[in-house]
Symmetry: C2
DNA sequence: TGCACAGCCTGACGTCGCGTCAGGGTCAAG
DNA sequence: CTTGACCCTGACGCGACGTCAGGCTGTGCA
């Protein structure tokens, strides 16, 4: 195969293949008399490995050493790639969760701290941080207030949305107080309205995601506190109702 | 906050913040009399957005236009980031599946075509490809043979592993022929041995992953053909047994 | 009070992984 | 035998920083 064909097959440019040849990462196993690069099947195998490692963020030089390691059989590469991909999955899942948390925080008018927001970036060393935090950045409450002030809301929208939210919370509280079980139809109906309210006012929130929020209400103290402040036991109640409703929707 | 503090918090280098200042992507809202950069809370918010978009692969200039768009409120950024992260999840999931497929192909001695391997890279246009494939790359069987020949196995290991695999397949076939249900204990036990064999000889294969392989046996004609060639109905039988065994393990 | 040392500043050059010409040879179809 | 698609080798450019160099600032402690 010629460069152009390989490039088309692999989804890279010809220039990329030239580059890989130049730096010795992937040299075609043959040339025509005219100097055309000719790629053999084994070259394609190697190119594939290169692209996977590249996608995983390895610098090309390191890819070369990995692939040129005579003690590494193909299965080892596959295992490593598999492991790294699972790592990426986990990282992405965590980022999705973080974005959803932020969305929900906005929804509830809670302000996350900068530390929480940056938690996913860099190799976070909590113990190193904890001690220095106060000294370095002083009064955290001032920060939080500042955060709150700098948020940009259209006043009237905010008022309406807030009223809607409080209405749902009030109905949850009533249900809780009158002893209606959290997985009852009544509670689930309020949960469903909660979900639709989020979808209308903030972001598309399918049942599965709503269930994730429900879990967060009991797992994250910030959100737990918001509900517990309204009525003791409300966090767990809302959490259960929301998850039950999601299960009902799911089938 | 000074640059160093912001850098530590966000997990980037000071140089990166200098760079973002220089290109106008993120200029601190203040300076001390000595010229020190002073970052306000709102600067941190922006930095966070920058890092998320950067992580998602946006060039910095585009990040700037996104963030400077006056018509885009914070919620819109969150929604976009959420969508893009879900896309990435899906892509990663597909790559994991591809690697697992490749591992299993090796396990069974099946050779995937280069097209299959590259399927995930570049925006794959199958219809454009289909027609030209034969003309451009000729006899696919020759390719496949070549692939097979270029694989590097230690002969004796390969013989042993192959014998083990055939043993399990034989026991599956016997179970099928004697009318034992695929979700019976006997069939599941063979499935479990199948799983452990993979784990020993090829790659760590937890029950969940094994279940994924089971699904592939009926969904991918290449693997279906392998089993159907041994005995009609074996592909579905193995698939069911493997998934039943995974369910048994899982709880 | 002085000074050591961590932290900040602004150039300026280097690196990595290519993109993008420029200038010129090759090959299959018509 | 020409036309147009495809190939070659430089060579320069670019994005997103890394990495000094040379010099100013801020602070803990002797």
């Amino acid at each position: 195969m010629n460069v152009g064909q390989v490039a088309a097959l692999a989804g890279v440019t010809v220039r990329t293949l030239h580059h890989y040849d130049r730096i010795g990462l992937l040299s075609p196993s043959g040339r025509t008399t005219a100097g055309y690069r000719r790629y053999a099947p084994s070259d394609l195998d190697r190119l594939h490995q290169v692209l996977v490692y590249r996608e995983l963020g390895f610098p090309l030089e390191e890819v070369a050493t990995l692939l040129d390691d005579p003690a590494a059989d193909p299965a080892e590469h596959l295992r490593r790639q598999h492991r790294l991909l699972l790592d990426r999955m986990e990282r992405t899942r965590a980022m999705v969760a973080a974005v959803e948390k932020e969305m929900e925080a906005r929804h509830m008018g809670i302000s996350l701290t900068p530390e929480e927001r940056f938690e996913l970036f860099g190799d976070w060393l909590p113990e190193e941080y904890e001690a220095e935090a106060e000294e370095r950045w002083g009064d955290t409450e001032a920060w939080a207030q500042s955060q709150r002030r700098t948020r940009s809301y259209t006043k009237e929208d905010w008022v309406r949305i807030k009223a809607e939210g409080e209405d749902v919370e009030r109905r949850f509280t009533e249900a809780l107080r009158s002893g209606v079980p959290a997985d009852s139809e009544r509670a689930m109906d309020v949960a469903e309205e909660h979900r639709q309210q989020i979808s209308r006012n903030f972001y598309d929130c399918p049942p599965e995601m709503h269930a994730g929020l429900g879990r967060m209400y009991v797992e994250d103290e910030r959100f737990t506190a918001h509900y517990e402040q309204i009525a003791p036991g409300l966090a767990q109640y809302v959490s259960t109702a929301v998850q039950a409703n999601a299960a009902r929707q799911g089938g």
